[in-house]
Amino acid sequence: MSVLKCEKLVKTYGQHRVLQGLDLTLESGKIYGLIGRNGAGKTTLLSMMSNQNPLTGGTVTLDGEPVWENPKALHRICFARELNISAESGLSKYTVKRYLQTAATFLPHWDREMADRLIRDFDLDPKKKLGKLSKGMLSMLTITVALASKAEFTFLDEPVAGLDVVAREQFYKLLLDEYTDTGRTFVISTHIIEEAADVMEEVIILNRGKILLMENIQALTSRACHVTGLAEEVDRAVGGLDCHGTEVLGRSKAVTVLLREGEAVSKNCDVTVQPLSLQKLFVALCQEEA
């Protein structure tokens, strides 16, 4: 099994400290979801793990070898960035076909047949210039590059941004097809949490340049709950538990609880205990930090 490891990763842009000593270990053969608010450092993290952004501090290693300017390691990693094409950008004159040919020269495991098939599936015209593509179409192109790269570790930065719901479902299916066929490792950043939650195995929650949580999604959501009721009753029910995002409204109180092994919300309290979706849990955890 391969391991991609970040240790004490630091990144500053001028005065702005984006990543603050971040540790992260990715094991091969999993689909990871990377979630975090705008500006949390998701894109920075992905670009640093793939040699596209110099480190201010810390190390990134693949099976013990540094990734930085190391072709051997980099041949196993592909980071498909979100494409933003402005009219002035040289890329805007590229056709879809030429863009894919260029991508192929950088990606040693490129699967041309797959790329052609995906372009057809997405109904993208190979002769069309990138400057003429909509946001959704650019996302489809990025997805095509990521999947056809056949890289052992593939990072996708907001691959579903701008895609309609049908195309998003199509992407999740393509991803699962590829994953079940090859067992490649994917890290996917997204803001559409609830949809992606079903296809991810582990979720990485990034907040203010730090890993807030990294856990198996099913394990995480099964230990999260939302407790509401009369404030005194809620306090009695959740005493000693790991509580987050407490909100008081008149005599009423609401808390998000993350139960640890063997813990439970006290019985015999007149409170409502509800399960929480990953999205609602994420909101509760991030609101608290704000």
Partner: protein
């Protein structure tokens, strides 16, 4: 009032049930003002018309009443009324469902009684 909305039931029904639960629990007291439809709409990020529909059910059932120009208030005797109705629902629906399930599992009356006593202990 602070419970999370679920997808399993219409939102306006959840709104009215939550307000009822809060009255039962003493979070909202009789003759006290309840949040307006606009306040509820903001709290749950739902359309005010949906919140109004939930409130109207409670007005129709005599749980809330309107004071012109001031807002919605909890009626006197609302708590007892809710308790009675929920009790009736418990017997009519949940207990019957429970007995039907027990029957289909072949649980005897005596076994059931034993477990109820154990559960209370």
């Amino acid at each position: 009032m602070q419970q999370k909305l679920t997808e399993e039931k219409s939102i306006y029904l959840q709104i009215s049930e939550m307000l009822e639960t809060d009255i039962l629990r003493g979070i909202l007291l009789e003759e006290e003002r309840v949040p307006s439809t606009n306040e509820l709409a903001k709290l749950y990020t739902i359309n005010p018309a949906t919140a109004a529909k939930g409130i109207n059910i409670l007005v129709d059932n005599g749980i809330l009443y309107k004071r012109r120009g001031i807002g919605m208030f909890v009626s006197a005797g609302a708590k007892e009324k809710i308790r009675e109705r929920r009790k009736q629902e418990f017997y009519d629906r949940r207990l019957k469902e429970l007995l039907a399930e027990a029957h289909s599992l072949g649980i005897t009356r005596q076994e059931l009684m034993d477990h109820i006593e154990k559960g209370e202990a």
